[in-house]
C-alpha cells in the first residue's frame, strides 16, 4: 500500500515525462518508421531549434516576464550574420557567428532595459521588438533569402559527430548549461526570487532590475544561437524563418511546468515540453496527417497536457 502510493507520488511528480512516455509508446506502436535511428535523430535535430529557444524562454518566464521577440530575433540575427558570409565574401565564418550573437544579445539588452527600467509590460516591449526585428529582416534583402553560404558555416547545422547531428549536441549543451545556471548558481536563485516576489528580493539586497535585464539577454542570445543553427542547417537565411517560434518555446516551457506568473519552473520540465512538441510534429508527419489538421491537433494536445498537469497537481495538494 505504502509502496504503491510512493510510486504514484513519483508518477504525479514527473507527470510531464509520463505524458511524453505515453505519447512515445503510442507512436512506437502506430508507426514502423518511428523507432528507427534515422527518425529519432531527425526528430531530435528538428526539435533542437525550439529547444534552444525554450531554454532562454524558461529564464524569462521564471522572472514572470515573457519574450515574444525570439522568433524574429532568430530570423534577423541570422539574416545579418549570413549576409556577411556568402561564398566569395572576404569575412571569416566566425565573424558571422559573432555578429549574429551580438545582435541577439543587443536586442535582449534593449528588451531587458525597457522592461526593467522603463516598467513597460514585457508583452508590449517584446511584441514591439518582434515587429521591428521581423521588419528589419525583410528589409535587409527586400524579402529575399540569403543562400550560398560558406561550407564551414553550414557544418554548424548540417554536420555530425559520431553519427549524431551537431544541432543535437548544441541543444543539449545549452540545456545543461541553462539547467546548471538555474539550479546551482546564485544568479539562478535570484531569477526564482525575482519572479516569486520582486519586492522581497529587493529587500534581500538583490538587484532585481539587473536580474530582469540579464534574463532577456540570455533569451536573446539563445534566439541568436538558434538562428545560426537553423540557417546553417538549411544552408540559407530566410527572412521569415522564425516566425511563430516564440509560441512553441513558450508552450514547451509551460508544458514543462513553468508558471506564467513567475517563480516556478525548471529545465528538466522544459526539456520534457520540448520533447513532447517535437514528438507531436514528427509523429503527425509520419502518420501522414495533413499539416492544417496538425495545427489543430497540436493546439488541442497542448491544452490537454497543461490541463492534466495543473489538475493532477491540484488533486495531489
Amino acid at each position: 500500500m505504502k509502496k504503491k502510493s510512493k510510486l504514484l507520488d513519483y508518477l504525479v511528480k514527473y507527470r510531464v515525462f509520463v505524458i511524453f512516455a505515453v505519447m512515445f509508446i503510442v507512436m512506437a506502436i502506430s508507426s514502423d518508421v518511428f523507432l528507427t535511428r534515422g527518425n529519432i535523430l531527425n526528430m531530435l535535430r528538428q526539435l533542437s531549434i525550439n529547444g534552444i529557444l525554450a531554454v532562454g524562454m524558461t529564464f524569462v518566464l521564471i522572472t514572470g516576464g515573457i519574450d515574444l521577440s525570439v522568433g524574429a530575433v532568430l530570423t534577423f540575427s541570422a539574416m545579418v550574420g549570413c549576409s556577411l558570409i556568402q561564398k566569395g565574401s572576404p569575412y571569416p565564418v566566425i565573424l558571422a557567428v559573432a555578429v549574429s550573437l551580438a545582435i541577439g544579445v543587443g536586442i535582449g539588452l534593449i528588451n531587458g532595459i525597457i522592461v526593467a527600467k522603463g516598467s513597460v509590460p514585457a508583452f508590449i516591449v517584446t511584441l514591439g521588438t518582434q515587429m521591428m526585428a521581423a521588419g528589419a529582416a525583410l528589409l535587409l534583402r527586400n524579402g529575399s533569402p540569403i543562400p550560398g553560404l560558406k561550407d564551414e558555416y553550414n557544418v554548424i547545422g548540417a554536420g555530425s559527430f559520431l553519427g549524431v547531428p551537431l544541432p543535437i549536441y548544441i541543444f543539449f549543451a545549452i540545456m545543461l548549461i541553462g539547467g546548471f545556471v538555474l539550479r546551482r548558481t546564485r544568479f539562478g536563485r535570484h531569477t526564482y526570487a525575482v519572479g516569486g516576489n520582486a519586492l522581497a528580493a529587493r529587500a534581500c539586497g538583490i538587484r532585481d532590475k539587473s536580474v530582469t535585464i540579464w534574463v532577456y539577454v540570455i533569451s536573446g542570445l539563445c534566439a541568436a544561437i538558434a538562428g545560426v543553427v537553423l540557417s546553417a542547417r538549411v544552408r540559407t537565411a530566410t527572412p521569415i524563418a522564425g516566425s511563430g517560434y516564440e509560441l512553441d518555446a513558450i508552450a514547451a516551457a509551460v508544458l514543462g511546468g513553468t508558471s506564467l506568473t513567475g517563480g516556478i519552473g525548471n529545465m528538466w520540465g522544459t526539456l520534457a515540453g520540448v520533447l513532447i512538441i517535437g514528438l507531436l510534429n514528427n509523429g503527425m508527419d509520419l502518420l501522414n496527417i495533413q499539416s492544417y489538421i496538425q495545427d489543430i491537433i497540436q493546439g488541442l494536445i497542448i491544452i490537454a497536457a497543461v490541463y492534466i498537469d495543473v489538475n493532477t497537481n491540484k488533486a495531489r495538494n
Partner: protein, 496 residues
Amino acid sequence: MSENERILEMRDIVKEFSGVRVLDRVSFALRRGTVHALMGENGAGKSTLMKILCGIYAKTEGEILLRGAPAEIQTPTDAKALGVAMIHQELSAFHALTVSANMFMNREFMKGPVIDEARMVSETDKVFSDLGIRIDPKAKMETLSVAEMQLVEIAKAVSTDADIIIMDEPTSALTEAEVRKLYETVEDLKSRGKSIIYISHKIEEIFAIADEITVLRDGSLVGHDEIGAFDKDRLISMMVGRTLSQQFHKTRHTFGDVMLKVEGLSREHAFENVSFEVRAGEVFGLAGLIGAGRTEVVETLFGLAKKSAGTVSLYGAPVEINSPGDAIHSGIAFVSEDRKNVGLNLVGSVKENITLANLKKYCRLGVINAREERAASDAQAEKLSVKANSRDTLAMYLSGGNQQKVILARWMSTTPRILILDEPTKGIDVGAKAEIYRLIDEFAAEGNCVIMVSSEMPEVLGMSDRIAVMHEGRMTAVFDRDEATQEKILAAAAGI
C-alpha cells in the same frame, strides 16, 4: 445573556483532509445578539471550522443547526442564503472599483440590462448612515485606508441581511482609534440582534468585546464558557496547553555605545526631521498610529526608499545607504510588516527563503554549494524552531507564525548588528509570539540593537527600553522604559 436563543449550533464536526483529522468532534454554539470569540493558536482549527460554516469546505461528519433547524451548507452561496457572512482577514476588495460597486458585487441593482449606479450609491449611503460610517460610496476602493475597507466589508455583510457575521482578525491592520470605532459598530450590530463570531489573537481585545469564548487546540474543543469565567492566564494556558508565566521575555542588561544615530532624517510627503539614537543592547520601540510615518522611517533606513534630507551614522561614522544591499552590508536587517509582499517568496522553499539575503556566503564563483546552504538553512531553522514538513516545503504552506520565523531566520543568518522589526508579531499566535520576544531579548543582550515598530501597546511597553512616538510624520516624544505608560504614548501618538 445566556437565555438568548441559539441561532447556530455546530455539533460534533469532524473534518478530514485525505485521512488526516484536522477537526475532531468540535461543537460550537452561538447565541443571538452576542459576540462569541473563537480562540486558539494557528493550526488549532478555527479557520477550518469557519470555512465549513461558510461552505468553503465540506464537513466529514457532524451536523449544523441554524435557528434550530438542520442546515445543509454545501457552497458559499448556501451560506450566504442562510445569513452567514464572513469578513476576511485579508480583504478581498476590488480595488479599482468604487465602494458601492464593491458593496453590491454580484447583486447589483439593474435598470433593464444596465447597472443602476445611482440606486447603488443611494443604497450604500443608506447602509452607511445606519452604521454611522462616513465614506463616500463613489470613492475608488483603493483610496480607502485598510480600516475603511474593513468597514465597507462589515457594511456589506449587514446589507445582505446576514444574522451571523464572522470576523477573522478584524483589527490586525487597525489603529487604536479605528479599533474603538470597530467596537462601536460591533455593539451596534449586537443591539440589532446580529450574532458575531470573532476570531483574534489579541487577548485584550477579546476581554473588551466578547460575551463568550470557545477555545480550540489541535483540532479539538478545549473549553467553552462565558467571558466572566475566564482570566487572561487561564485563557492563554487553555490555548497553548501550558501556562506562560511571562509573555514578554525581557532581561536586564547594560547598554554600550551609540550604534545608530539618525539626525534630521526626512522624506518628502512621508516624514520630517526625525532624529534619534540607539545604543548597543537597546530595544528601541517606535509607537504611533498607522500612517504616522514609522514604516516609512525604517524603510528609508534600510535603503528601500530615498531620504530627502538628514544623516545616518553607524558606529560613529556617517554612512550613505542607497539600497537594501548597502544596508545589509552595514549589518542592518529588516523584517517588514508586510510578510507576504515584502518578506517572503511564497512560491520559494523554506531553505531558499532563509538563505536569500546572504546567498553569497554559500557560493564559490557564483555557484551555490548545496551542502553548505542546506546545513546553514537547517541550522537557522532549528534555532528559531521553524515548523515545516521539510526544508523544501514552499513558504506559502506555512502558518503565519512559521512564515515570520523563516524571515527572522533569514535575517539572523546575515549576522546583523541592527535588527529593524516592523510589526513583528502581527497576525501570529501566542506561542510564536513568545519565541519572537525571546529572540529579540537575546539578540539585544548580545550587544546588538533592535528597532521595533509596533502598534500593539502591550508589546511596545513590554519589550522596549526606550519608546519614541510618531505623529503625522514627526517624532513627538521619546520615553524611557520606566516612565512610559499607555496614556502618555496614546497622547503623543494623537499629537496632544
